[in-house]
């Protein structure tokens, strides 16, 4: 059992404010991912939770108890570092058992615990090796094993997969998700990779410039991003943005004039918007449909064929638009192409980059892994202003 509360945490290094008042709740057994571009403060936030940095102001609570002044080792947390930070002069077994040795645990008990963790991670044949003699993936597993041995209430991961090659990263991602099920522990995971966030998280916290942009389940962020930044950050390839003008606002949505002359009604709450406003239309590449009658058109500049799907980069007057199309489309470069979109899939952003709320919630936006449904109920999105 471990919950974490972060209240108004501010971190200043000299005159730079790295974290500008973070509020966050992490529920028991939840897999929370902090995601954001580099320099957004996500690692600093993790290090403050770990106790390796102190918060300038604000409170940290684990299970309701304030831990600001508690040392890193006494918080009951374990951390996996990006560089793995294994002790190079110790064997795998000694690496994993180091915390127990410091805690004065006897040799026999220590060995049992290490073997147990080694079994979970399939490290048994490597126990006598030094880190130097391990591959990247094995080192990663030892670093995780070192965390498991401590039996922490919360696991902290600081970009643990970024030093691995792509294939191994996918494999470790699955392994981490499995581990989360098996250990049934609370995990906080920092990454700049939105795919890692989408695939593993129960709850994603999107950070930018030291502030929380949005908190929510992966599907919620994908279908209901609260602002332009989150919309562009979550999803791959990136969401397309088109400048549009509001024509009419009604209870059924906002009708906008598209570049090229067409119009479309997007089902969003138009309160505060009025005809004539300059808005931005956001459509994900996978929601653009190639259609000879479509209201939008442009010239294909680049075609990337991935086999199962094809990415078309289409030049319009307002920039390049990405379209994810079927793998078997026969278009050629420089060809003129028409396309459209399902208005229900489109997003509208106002002049400040804030999303106009959809009139309908996407049915999957509340979904997390089935076993953890009820714990997410009380951790629903906390609407947050844009940057």
């Amino acid at each position: 059992m471990a919950t974490l509360q972060i209240k108004q945490v501010v971190k200043r290094f000299d005159d730079t404010e790295v974290l500008k008042g973070i509020d966050l709740e992490v529920n028991d057994r939840e897999f929370v991912v902090f995601v954001g571009p580099s320099g957004c403060g996500k690692s600093t936030l993790l290090r403050i939770i770990a106790g390796l940095e102190s918060a300038t102001t604000g409170d940290l609570l684990i299970d309701g108890e304030r831990i600001n002044e508690v040392g890193p080792a006494d918080r009951g947390l374990a951390m996996v570092f990006q560089s793995y930070a294994l002790y190079p002069h110790m064997t795998v077994e000694d690496n994993m058992g180091f915390s127990l040795r410091l805690a004065g645990v006897g040799k026999q008990a220590r060995r049992e615990k290490v073997l147990e963790a080694a079994r979970i991670l399939q490290l048994e044949p490597l126990l006598d090796r030094k880190p130097k003699a391990l591959s990247g993936g094995q080192r990663q597993r030892v670093a995780i094993g070192r965390a498991i041995v401590r039996n922490p209430s919360i696991f902290l991961f600081d970009e643990p997969l970024s030093n691995l090659d792509a294939a191994l990263r996918v494999q470790m991602r699955i392994e981490l998700a499995r581990l989360h099920e098996e250990l049934d522990a609370t995990m906080i995971y920092v990454t700049h990779d939105q795919i890692e966030a989408m695939t593993m998280a129960d709850k994603i916290v999107v950070l930018q410039g030291g502030e929380v942009e949005q908190v929510g389940s992966p599907m919620e962020l994908y279908h209901h991003p609260c602002n332009r930044f989150v919309a562009g950050f979550i999803g791959s390839p990136k969401m397309n943005f088109l400048p549009v003008t509001a024509q009419a606002v009604s209870t059924s949505g906002v009708r906008v004039a598209l570049p090229g002359g067409g119009t479309s009604e997007v089902a969003v709450n138009g309160e505060g918007a009025q005809a004539g406003d300059a808005l931005e239309l956001g459509i994900r590449p996978e929601h653009l449909l190639l259609d000879d009658q479509g209201p939008l058109s442009g010239q294909i500049k680049v075609i990337e064929r991935l086999g199962g799907q094809t990415s078309l980069y289409v030049e319009m007057d307002d920039g390049i638009i990405t379209i994810t199309a079927d793998g078997d489309v026969t278009y050629r470069v420089n060809e003129q192409v028409n396309f459209g979109f399902e208005p229900s899939r489109a997003h509208l952003f106002d002049g400040q980059g804030l999303a106009l709320a959809s009139l309908q919630r996407h049915p999957l936006s509340g979904l997390v892994r089935q076993d953890s449904r009820e714990r997410v109920e009380n951790s629903r999105e906390r609407p947050e202003g844009g940057a």
Binding site: L52, P72, A73, M79, Q82, Y87, F98, S99, L102, A103
Partner: protein, 272 residues
Amino acid sequence: MNTSRLQRFILAVLAWSITFVIFFPILWMILTGFKTEAQAIADPTLFFTPTLDSYAAVQGRADYFRFAYNSVYVAFGSTLLALMIGIPAAYSMAFLPTKRTKGTMLWMLSTKMLPPVGVLVPIYLIFRDLGMLDTRIGLTVIYTLMNLPIVIWMLYTFFKDLPKDILEAGRMDGANTRQEMLYLLIPLTLPGIASTGLLSVILSWNEAFWSLNLTSSRAAPLTAYIASFSSPEGLFWAKLSAASTMAVAPILIFGWLTQKQMVRGLTFGAVK
């Protein structure tokens, strides 16, 4: 770079020549030690009948082993002390720097630029009042202070090369500062610490200014022993050479045995 055989040959000749030039005085000193006084001042020759007369005469006049014992005592004692103070100091500077760390380090280094003779009188008076003149402890203390800036600087650069994450991982694992140093920092930077220690031993061994001014007989190390052979009634080259050979032999052999360690330590990090 593509080095041809000729280039390599020239380089080898150059390296050997420079080495020889540097080594020549030592070689000549060793040779002279085996000559008689007459041969020593005669026309230089490489061919003579070696004799141990000078060594016997030198040993007859002063007990070499007492001086050697003092040298070993102060060189290793001061090194041990300097490391005991320097390791925690460098640790805090490398891993917990403050705004003044850089300034402090530059100030420490600046003390090495001051001519020691500038502080001779005050130090002499302090030593006199504390009764530390001509004591091994006194000399050990002054050598420790003398080497501390270099020791801290060297350790600082070695510690800086250690990934911070490893110590942080240790802290997450429950290590306190002492355990961090004992179980992680020291074992991981041991080559660097060793070469720092070796350098400190060598510097202390070769130090002459303070030993000549602060000791006379009881605590006098080998540097004072050599100096005692340059007497007012003229130089006895053979005896002086014999004494010098005996004085530098231990540190030369020590340096030779540990040179691998020294080089490894001094390039530690650079070739990691």
